[in-house]
């Protein structure tokens, strides 16, 4: 039996997901790498690709939200906005959204899960997910319209 190794494409999507949650490239990279460390055992217990991706995405999300709670992102975001302009605007706009809209929209735009799987990930039904995506899009449109670079400097949500 072959042990599971994530593909490079899965890794890239996980990073994009993490960056949309944090707007902090180093935090996102660390969240993905830490999630993979020690993941071989749990991943080997899961038999389908969807289950494995779901486990990895849940780990990445947990670490991203934990770093946000610890205030790490705040420091990074504040210091980086002025000094580094390589943080994509879209990730700053996402990172300022409240949870769980942020996770719902981030998963919607990265190519890991379909709508039903996103709903399961967030323990919602399809109608509830649809309402969440509607609210998230409206908020995202508003921030983009406002020129939301300032949104990345504003304090991120503490979960």
């Amino acid at each position: 039996m072959h042990s599971y190794v994530p593909s490079a494409e899965t890794l890239h999507e996980l990073y994009r997901f993490a960056l949309l949650l944090t707007a902090a490239p180093e935090t996102a990279e660390r969240a993905v790498m830490d999630s993979l460390t020690g993941a071989a055992g749990p991943l080997a217990q899961l038999r389908c690709a969807h289950g494995r991706n779901r486990w990895l995405a849940a780990e990445v999300r947990r670490r991203c939200l934990a770093s946000e709670t610890a205030g790490i992102n705040n420091d990074i975001a504040t210091s980086r906005v002025e000094s580094r302009h390589d943080i994509p605007d879209v990730s700053q706009q996402f990172a300022s959204l409240p949870e769980p809209q942020r996770t719902a929209l981030a998963l919607f735009y990265v190519n890991l899960f379909d709508a039903e799987e996103i709903a399961q990930f967030l323990h919602l039904n399809l109608d509830q997910l649809a309402a969440l995506l509607a609210a998230g899009r409206t908020e995202l449109q508003r921030r983009r319209a406002d020129g939301s670079a300032a949104g990345a400097v504003a304090p991120t949500r503490r979960v």
């Binding site: 190794v5 994530p6 080997a44 994509p88 649809a130």
Partner: protein
């Protein structure tokens, strides 16, 4: 589906799903595309999603990230643990048990077919009848088995109902004639060594018995073992409680099949 539900579910629609969309979402999209106001909103959403998706795809992961894959190693003993965990899955266990039962049934059926011959079922019923006997059914007759052929003829009019010659010397304890399916069966009880043996004599055509050659055909019926032989239209069956090996031994046992020498008399 109404307009409100369709409008809500359309928020879950991704244009590049290539038919992977949930059926409810597909239905909502079809509804919206035929509804003027909803169609416009759907187009706006698609336009917005295309821009966002393009910006997200443009995010380039750091070059150090793929290197982590080279350090992704399975745990020691991972393969053994995986096999063990697979075998413990209820579905796998159920399939394994089912296969085991099927193989067992197949083997049992093959053994049954090996025992089978035309008339086997009727012959087996004779053994079942014996198993159900209380013992009072027999007439006490103490003689040598070889002399009972005349007894059956004189009392019941049964011709050629003789025990096999190799067993003619065995001492009988009792005998009877019973009817099965309306046809007569002569039955003799003898003691031979450690076995309490039953002999059955009947006509082959009465019970549809057809055997290849004149060798004994051994079969089992629950706790019993039987051996049937046909010669000239007459069948003889030997049966006792035991197994196939016991019967093979019985048929080869010279102490059973070979009559003891007749002692010489003074007159001769």
């Amino acid at each position: 589906m109404n307009a409100r539900t369709a409008e809500n579910l359309c928020h879950c629609h991704r244009q590049n799903e290539n038919g992977r969309d949930n059926p409810r979402i597909q239905k909502a999209v079809r509804f919206a595309e035929q509804h003027g106001e909803l169609r416009a909103k759907l187009e706006q959403q698609r336009h917005f999603d295309r821009h966002i998706a393009a910006e997200v795809r443009a995010i380039t992961p750091p070059p150090t990230l793929p290197a982590v894959l080279s350090t992704f190693q399975p745990q020691d003993g991972d393969t053994h643990g995986s096999i063990r965990s697979i075998l413990k899955q209820p579905a796998i266990l159920a399939v394994a048990i089912g296969l085991f039962v099927l193989v067992g049934l197949f083997i049992r059926e093959r053994v049954r077919l090996m025992d089978s011959f035309p008339g086997h079922e009727a012959v087996a019923r004779m053994i079942v009848t014996t198993d159900e006997m209380s013992g009072i059914e027999l007439e006490p007759v103490n003689t040598q088995a070889g002399k009972l052929g005349d007894w059956f003829f004189l009392k019941y009019g049964l011709e050629h109902y003789d025990p096999p010659r190799e067993f003619a010397h065995l001492e009988t304890a009792g005998c009877r004639v019973f009817k099965q399916d309306g046809f007569p069966v002569a039955q003799i009880a003898v003691s031979a060594g450690r076995h309490h043996v039953w002999f059955y004599m009947f006509r082959a055509e009465d019970f549809g018995v057809r055997l290849d050659g004149e060798d004994w055909r051994i079969f089992t019926e629950e706790a019993w073992v039987g051996a049937v032989r046909e010669k000239g239209g007459s069948c003889v069956m030997i049966a006792f409680v035991g197994n196939r090996g016991d019967m093979e031994g019985f048929l080869k046992d010279e102490a059973v099949t070979k009559p003891p020498p007749v002692p010489a008399t003074d007159a001769e």
